[in-house]
Assembly symmetry: C2
Homo-oligomer: 359 residues x 2
DNA sequence: TTCCAGAATCAAACCGGTTTGGACGGTAGC
DNA sequence: GCTACCGTCCAAACCGGTTTGATTCTGGAA
């Protein structure tokens, strides 16, 4: 409500304008614009002249004017709910955002990061839409019956979802890791090594992928005729500390598990700490298999990986999502796109044959 | 060069426009615009009427049009050089970007993320400027005699630097942690515990802050009459793996150090692993003190922290930098701002008295 | 030579705001 | 009673591109 005094950018410093370039060339702005945009009704000779002059003068069309004229902003949005910021977003945020940014750049887009207060999420999206600030959004952390999907359809906002929202039947574009299969395989792998008592240290099970991971884990056990033991299943934020706490608790039980399936490398590091504090050896006394988001700063890509893991790069997920979204923006007729990535199972030093039970 | 077919956003879905609102109110667009912007020449009664109608109809001014008219984009830029993406950016990126995003939101700005190919960095900034895409930029990872600073001055781009660039004398706004003092204190702390042989596992020393950290470490040793031993100083990417490798190497030396100063929690986790692999106990046989960026997913904030650390929140740094930059954008007369944050020294379980030398 | 289709170009409108430079009506001052 | 001035409000220009609809310039067919 205050009188806001906006200082315009010093215009002397910004580059040449279309009008200047066109008068310099003795052409109309129309022709120059079309020549640069690649329209066919400009003669090859003229186009060459224009392109060269533009390059020579370092002409860059003003994005704001272009955005206004075309109704397109060349931004894709990534909206972070502020209650998520403390949640699992963070460990993967760097690589995920990196992936988005990389692919955006390839297509001439930028990434617009915004914060939404938890209770104003819907309003933030509506505002984003009516402001025309972004051409589409990447949603992450799908919730059960996620209300954002209906909202996006309502306001006509192109979007892609990182993950799938349980309970939503309407079609929408998503990319997900096959978490169920990944955790099924991980659990199965441990059983093949002879483990029968296997714990689960999961991410927060209010989030969809954690539910699927648990389902994969439970299914593998069930198929082997083992009943999943609620006492061996925990979930919570994917921090080192929580991983440590969960493992420590399990190791303190009368009959501790001989192996655990863990939802992130960060947690797994805490798990390792708990194992060592208990005087045990990881990969020998206790086997650990983790989900590995292939984060660049927590690399598990040594010649022989430290952690046996089901690996799926979250950076690649970001790249693919950006590409999917841009495709959807530029080809609205495009039908719904679905991508299910399979995690690879890499064997490291954190797993081994189940210790023989001293009978 | 291809004919690019832009599909405008369906206009039926975007919100009400200024013209519609004004004709609805029986006022001119001018008056409505001014009423909402808080200009004094609108009567209180009219203003109230306008504000209410705007709220009722959910009017949101189109950001693109506003940007074009005012010459301001309400974006601040964060440009990631693609060679940095694999470097130390990542571990802290999530929290740093989170901090930027949070403060931006408070001031009605958004964060624009872009990628610059390493050899096109200058071009990217120029383009950003002439496109008018952002009102200012946050630079990070200052290099010696960083050429970006002169470039920003040349193109008239408001900016703030996360860190300080060695060799630059021209004034510019920056925010930094007092890395020299932090590492001086950390080293001094270890010496007070009786340690005399202290290693350094630093971040990549092509980056300014790593140079300062080393200087603090060396100064503390020198003051105590200890000559810094090059064999006990390593530097490299701040990953778990590199921390592990460096510590392992040190422990393999004929006379291993009894303590190490480490540049990040991520590295420290690798250091811990190496210590345990050697059959030693951290905080007993070997003391470890780390720099702690206070990342939310690698929290070292347990009741008794695992790692003794010099702590400085990188999220807070992001917040403060956003605020500094926006202040600079909105008050160009603003003189240069400098903020030097002091790290706090928190004691955890990873340090203890130096083991007595078996004589 | 005339006419016309097609190629190449341009003037003007448009995107949706902000801002400049009045215009209008009412009150105060002389 | 007339002018001066102030508080309100508005028409039109402007930001810098894109796009529509018209115009000019070709060359070839009639």
């Amino acid at each position: 409500m205050l009188h806001c005094n906006l200082t315009p950018i010093q215009s002397g410093l910004v580059g040449m304008k279309l009008r200047e370039l066109s008068s310099h060339l003795g052409l109309s702005p129309t022709t120059v614009s079309r020549a640069l945009a690649g329209y066919p009704e400009v003669s090859a000779k003229t186009r060459a002249r224009v392109v060269e002059a533009a390059a020579q003068h370092g002409y860059q069309p003003n994005q704001r004017a272009k955005a206004l004229a075309t109704g397109r902003s060349f931004y894709i949005g990534h909206i972070v709910s502020s209650h998520d910021t403390e949640e699992m977003v963070n460990p993967i945020a760097g690589d995920f955002i990196g992936g988005l940014t990389e692919r955006c750049a390839d297509f001439g887009y930028s990434l617009s990061m915004r914060l939404a207060k938890p209770d104003q999420e819907a309003m933030t999206f509506r505002k984003l839409r009516s402001e025309g600030a972004v051409d589409g959004v990447v949603l992450q952390l799908p919730r059960e019956n996620d209300s954002r999907i209906a909202l996006m359809h309502e306001i006509g906002m192109p979007f892609v979802m990182h993950g799938r929202a349980r309970g939503i039947t309407a079609p929408y574009s998503w990319l997900d890791v096959n978490n169920t299969r990944a955790f099924h395989r991980a659990t199965r792998f441990l059983m093949d090594l002879g483990h029968r008592s296997i714990g689960l240290i999961n991410g927060n099970e209010t989030v969809d992928y954690a539910v699927r991971r648990r389902a994969g884990y439970v299914a593998a056990l069930t198929e082997a005729g083992i009943k999943a033991d609620p006492a061996l299943m925990t979930n919570g934020p994917m921090t080192e500390d929580k991983g440590h706490g969960a493992m420590r608790e399990m190791l303190g039980r009368p009959v501790p598990p001989s192996a655990v399936v863990v939802s992130s490398i960060t947690q797994a590091i805490g798990v390792r700490r708990a194992i060592q504090e208990a005087g045990l050896t990881m990969g020998q006394d206790v086997s650990v298999i983790a989900h590995d988001d292939d984060l660049s700063y927590l690399s598990n890509r040594q010649t022989v990986p430290v952690f046996t893991a089901v690996r799926s790069s979250v950076r690649e997920a970001g790249q693919r999502l950006a590409e999917m979204l841009i495709r959807q923006i530029e080809q609205p007729a495009q039908s719904v796109q679905e991508q299910l990535l399979e995690a690879e199972l890499v064997v490291g030093t954190s797993t081994g044959a189940a210790p023989k039970v001293s009978a």
